[in-house]
């Protein structure tokens, strides 16, 4: 068996290379543009936190004392509940995508404990399928000994077109927490001068394009700064809640409205903060 890689050690070892790549990128720019990119880097360092997009029931689990599960922990739980092997549950759930997920996670020491998030400097993260965007506290993030940043989705940028895992991407492009803002600024250097400052959050993260954050650590309610959700989704939930006055909701609708009411109760009781964003 191949020796396992230490993702976080690789990231820490890349600090100087990330700094050099940033310096090199701004060196080719005009003084005004270089200053703007430096300003952008400082803004990312100050504003960007780590987000994880989840479904509503995950937030309800947090409010009930639960913690965030990754797919391997989910498979272990399924195994405990059903008696079948965790590996079978994982294969069934991922089906033809099993090999890719497992190839990445099992290449690294502690890979099955990895949590995947995205850098977020505003907005609802990646809400297409998981509309509720948990923003983790700065204290939580800075307390993590094991955290690494990639300039894109690991299952996209670390695999070749034929599906083979390319370790050189991890070795060459991973950044440590201390240098995350320089990696972001270097990757977006050409876009920064063309982007209104009010839209900078959008070049840090937008659907399909983001900086991935991989870390090891328990995520529960204590680690949550706030939850962001798009106004369209928030209004959709209230529409469903309102509909319950006029008709009997279907069972899945009731499940969602029930979750939503519990989440809102957490807001009213001051246990969780929700920001509705455009």
């Amino acid at each position: 068996m191949d020796a396992m890689l230490d993702l976080f050690e690789i990231a820490r070892g890349n600090a100087n290379a990330v700094q050099a790549a940033f310096t090199s990128a701004v060196a080719t720019m005009s003084p005004d543009q270089a200053a703007l990119v430096h300003e952008f880097a400082a803004w990312v360092e100050e504003k960007a936190l780590v987000s994880i997009n989840v479904k509503l029931f995950v937030i309800v689990d947090f409010l009930n004392g639960g913690r965030y599960q990754n797919i391997h922990e989910w498979a272990q739980e399924q195994s405990r509940l059903s008696g079948r092997s965790a590996e079978d549950a994982l294969r069934e759930r991922l089906h033809k995508f099993y090999d890719k997920r497992v190839a990445f996670d099992r290449a690294f020491k502690g890979g099955e404990q990895f949590r995947y998030g995205a850098l977020n400097a505003g907005g609802a993260g990646l809400p297409e399928y998981d509309p509720w965007c948990i923003i983790l506290t700065r204290d939580f993030i800075t307390s993590l000994p094991d955290i690494a940043y990639l300039p894109g989705d690991s299952l996209t940028i670390c695999f070749s077109a034929d599906g083979a895992f390319d370790v050189s991407v991890v070795e060459g492009r991973t950044a440590p927490h201390t240098h995350r803002h320089l990696m972001v600024a270097k990757e977006r250097a050409s876009e920064v001068p063309l982007t209104d400052k009010r839209d900078w959050a959008g070049i840090v993260a937008s659907p399909g394009r983001y900086f991935e954050v991989i870390f090891i650590g328990d995520v529960s309610l204590n680690a949550v700064e706030c939850v962001r959700v798009l106004k369209t989704e928030y209004d959709r939930m209230w529409d469903m809640a309102f509909a319950s006055f006029g008709r009997k909701l279907g069972v899945a609708e009731r499940a969602l409205v029930h979750d939503f009411v519990q989440m809102r109760r957490g807001v009213v009781d001051g246990r969780i903060q929700v920001e509705v964003v455009a």
Partner: protein, 204 residues
């Protein structure tokens, strides 16, 4: 028509379903025209990054697909020891609603529910509204709800009076009956058309 479920988030009854060549995100309240169309790589994205499970079920129609998604929501939650309640208490909803939402609910009662003559729904909502804790902080909303309750009562009374008046009259063809002879002519024409099986006066 064959519908193929390609990925599912069972606990919420959400599916990614292929219909012909189009992938759609199908989710409660299952209004098909509101179901977002998804790009082709969304199945991989949903399964690898967003907690969906791969699925392969096929259905002959949307109704069966939606029944399946609902069943999955029940089963997934039951497996975790969670039951979905039979009903959501209106009071629970209103107690956690912020003032702008409460206000928008009253707008909808005023602009949609009462004009559509859904008087029972309006009354149920407004009574729950007036009994909710939310009003403790929003006395002006309480006054508005009380006024709407009164308006709903008057609209119901007016509507019932109208129905009762109609029931007491033979109103099948009032305009024809008012014109002497027109009604009798219509009856004769109807008979003729039925006999020849055609609206045109031809010999074919």
């Amino acid at each position: 028509m064959t519908l193929k479920l390609e990925a599912i988030s069972p606990a919420e009854g959400i599916g990614i379903i292929r219909s012909d060549q189009t992938l759609r995100l199908v989710r409660p309240p299952y209004v098909l025209h509101g179901a977002p169309v998804l790009p082709e790589d969304s199945v991989q994205d949903a399964i690898l990054r967003h907690g969906f499970s791969a699925a392969q079920e096929q259905f002959d129609n949307w109704k069966d697909a939606i029944v399946f998604l609902n069943q999955q929501a029940v089963a997934a939650r039951r497996s975790l020891g969670k039951e979905i309640p039979d009903a959501i208490s209106g009071k629970d909803i209103l107690n956690v609603a912020p003032s702008e939402v409460l206000s928008s609910f009253l707008d909808r009662v005023e602009r949609e529910i009462i004009p559509q003559r859904l008087f029972d729904n309006a009354e149920d909502f407004l009574l729950a509204f007036l009994a909710s804790r939310a009003l403790g902080h929003q006395p002006e909303l309480g006054a508005r709800a009380a006024a709407l309750l009164q308006r709903n009562k008057e609209a119901r009374k007016k509507s019932e009076a109208g129905i009762s008046e109609l029931a007491n009259r033979d109103i099948r063809f009032p305009s024809l009956e008012q014109k002497q002879g027109d009604f009798a002519l219509s009856v004769r024409l109807t008979k003729l058309i039925r006999e020849r099986g055609c609206v045109f006066a031809t010999g074919f």
